[in-house]
Subunit: 192 residues, 2 copies
DNA sequence: AGAGTAACCAAGCAAGCGCTAGTGTAAATG
DNA sequence: CATTTACACTAGCGCTTGCTTGGTTACTCT
């Protein structure tokens, strides 16, 4: 296996793996399929990754890191008002969801296949991301912008956003930003 | 395979299969694991089901039929006001989601493993269920109870509800009905 | 009693699985 | 020039997979 864990080759392989995992599911994707897609033989795969599990972990980590980076950037750039921050988070979420779609679909629907060690590490990353959300939701609640239980609201909102990967068509008339704004409007009484 | 497709034995086997599919995922659940859980040998399994795919289809069909039945009953029994109908649908959704949890988790997260034929059949069932939702959402929109795009609102709401299987703890302080009411309140400006 | 049938079992096949061992080679490094 | 490193290859081991086959029980219905 490569010593430098973030070699460009490995990144490209991770991207291809994400695509196959989405198409076939992790379990049905064989190392031979992965290798073929990458233009190498199956044995060579294990030079880049310790085992198949590690490929899955790499895919999910990549997606979550991107989500974190995009969300932080969005928060740093937007106006310091609860409504704008809420909107920024929703937009950032959909942005990463559809630019890194493969990685996120894998993260959302295949994380049960992770072994305990990888799962623990990635859970922390995920928690860091959700913490950003809860903070923004808290501000919006305090400002009276939305109402309800902070815990429930964030879960409901994240659920609604994550579920978009199941039905949203990026080639349709609506942009992801559109979608985000509609969701925020839906839960904001004052913006009717 | 059994001629009578709905034999009680088959129903029980389907229930056990759902449980295993949730625990391990469809692909990682072997016919030998299924057979052992059922107290028979792996070969005997194929007396009840044509192949492994058919077991998956049976699990999903069972769940969706239950969802349809419960939703229809809830609508028939509740007052004929948009708000009550909306609440009834949300409650019904969470009710079936957690009483038939295994079947629904499989339906939500493993339907990609269905072959095209089974997938087409079950899609129709699913569409019938979603049609109930869209009708109720339409009424609520017309009554000015909620606002937004009919299509988006139903997708967002269903997403938020379906996502509960990922975090809701039935042994916690909140009841499923509680959850449903909170969600409806979240999207209804007037009930602040 | 005899026929029919649902439910099961033991045994195993052919295919496919993740992964390993050992080797070759071209480029970078001392 | 000698050595290391990165990356790829061939070949295949040991095991598991979904499913089949051929036969056996146990029960019901005439």
């Amino acid at each position: 296996m490569n010593v430098i864990n973030a070699s460009p080759r490995r990144k490209e392989l991770t991207r291809l793996a994400a695509q196959l995992f989405v198409q076939e599911g992790f379990d049905r994707t064989t190392v031979r399929m992965l290798a073929q897609e990458m233009g190498i033989k199956s044995g060579s795969l294990f030079h880049h990754f310790k085992d198949k599990q590690e490929i899955l972990a790499a895919v999910i980590e990549e997606g979550t890191q991107n989500a974190l980076a995009i969300a932080r950037k969005a928060l740093a750039e937007c106006a310091d008002e609860p409504e704008m921050r809420l909107r920024a988070m929703a937009r950032a979420h959909l942005e990463t969801l559809f630019t890194d779609r493969n990685a996120h679909v894998v993260a959302l629907f295949e994380w049960r296949r992770l072994d305990p060690a990888a799962s623990a590490h990635l859970s922390h990353l995920r928690d860091a991301y959700e913490a950003l959300w809860v903070a923004v939701i808290d501000d919006a609640l305090e400002a009276g912008l939305i109402h309800g239980d902070r815990f429930l609201v964030s879960r409901f909102v994240l659920g609604a956003l994550n579920w978009t990967v199941r039905w949203y068509d990026p080639n349709g008339p609506r942009s992801p930003d559109d979608l985000a704004d509609e969701l925020v409007a839906m839960i904001m009484p004052t913006s009717a």
